[in-house]
């Protein structure tokens, strides 16, 4: 039995270069990815981190850049700083007629991670699409998830 995998496809009215930029530019990620940013030099073998935009010592995810072919394919390993379970995320960015097809494949997951990221990716990627197409992201994705959870409770 292989480990669970999550695949999400979204079509965005943009260019592959703009979508790639949105995945790595801190000023963009902070608005659609829960006020977090991704830091790395994005070269194969380099480390990358997903960290709080305002408090960079607050690191949510760490990993290694496995493959980086701007603007078409980015493959990252993905783990919590304190954890041992390593999953892998692939971003495939393809021009499709007048738009871009972005496929996010998150694999080698544990059951618990599958549940968490299945809730997270659709919100993040919906907001990314909204931001690139309208100029403004969805307000609910502009603050860290734990703040959102606290407000809701």
């Amino acid at each position: 039995m292989s480990k669970p995998k999550f695949v999400y496809v979204v079509y965005i009215q943009a260019t592959p270069e703009k979508v790639w930029q949105a995945l790595i530019d801190p000023e963009m990620t902070k608005d659609y990815w829960g006020r977090h940013r991704n830091t790395s030099d994005w070269k194969p073998g380099s480390a990358w981190r997903h960290e709080n935009y305002d408090e960079p010592d607050d690191v949510a995810i760490v990993g290694t850049v496995v493959e980086s072919n701007r603007p078409h394919r980015l493959v990252l390993t993905w783990k919590r700083p304190e954890g041992n379970d390593v999953s892998r995320v692939t971003f495939d960015v393809e021009a499709y007629k007048d738009s871009v097809r972005l496929t996010v494949t998150h694999e080698e997951l544990t059951a618990e991670m599958l549940q968490a990221i299945s809730a997270g990716w659709p919100a993040v990627l919906s907001s990314l699409k909204t931001m690139l197409e309208t100029g403004a992201s969805m307000p609910m994705t502009r603050q860290p998830w734990h703040v959102r959870a606290a407000v809701r409770n």
Binding site: Y11, Q13, Y96, D98, P122, S126, K129, M140
Partner: protein, 154 residues
């Protein structure tokens, strides 16, 4: 849980009322659903058909549950590809939930056939249709490639 299923969640900056209308209004669906539209009285037990511009019925079924602006469940069978039609009726659920200034739309398509070809087919179609629906509601324009029934689908 059914043998095969596809689940897709998207968040759209709109209201449940507008999203509901966009899912069933023929004038609206033609703009983002490859010119297709649905015919139904939208009552429990009513028949339901999805039509394309050449007059063919591509899919059909019945309304199983309907709760305006919140939930719609349809039985759904493909009518124009024999290998998909042979798999019989699937079940489609639209769930609309307001969240802040957005609506969380969950689309679930399931069938009691292991490794169903039908689910593989709709897994390719739904993300494109729903992305175009989101663009249309948020920007006023659907994705261009979804505005015409494509020749390769014939």
């Amino acid at each position: 849980m059914s043998e095969s299923s596809f689940v897709y969640v998207t968040y759209i900056r709109t209201t449940p009322e507008k999203l509901w209308q966009a899912l069933i209004d023929p004038e609206f669906t033609r703009k983002y659903w490859f010119q297709a539209w649905q015919e139904s009285e939208w009552k429990p037990g009513a028949s339901w058909r999805l039509m394309v511009p050449d007059g063919r019925v591509t899919d059909s079924g019945e309304v199983i549950e309907i709760e305006p602006h919140r939930r719609l469940v349809l039985s759904w069978r493909n009518e124009f590809k024999p290998e998909l039609r042979a798999e019989g009726y699937s079940r489609l659920t639209y769930l609309l939930e307001p969240q802040g200034d957005t609506v969380k739309l969950t689309v679930m398509h399931e069938i009691d056939v292991p490794k169903a070809k039908f689910i593989e087919a709709v897994s390719n179609g739904w993300p494109h249709i729903l992305a175009s629906l989101k663009s249309l509601l948020e920007t006023g324009a659907s994705l261009e490639a979804t505005r015409r029934w494509p020749k390769e689908k014939m």
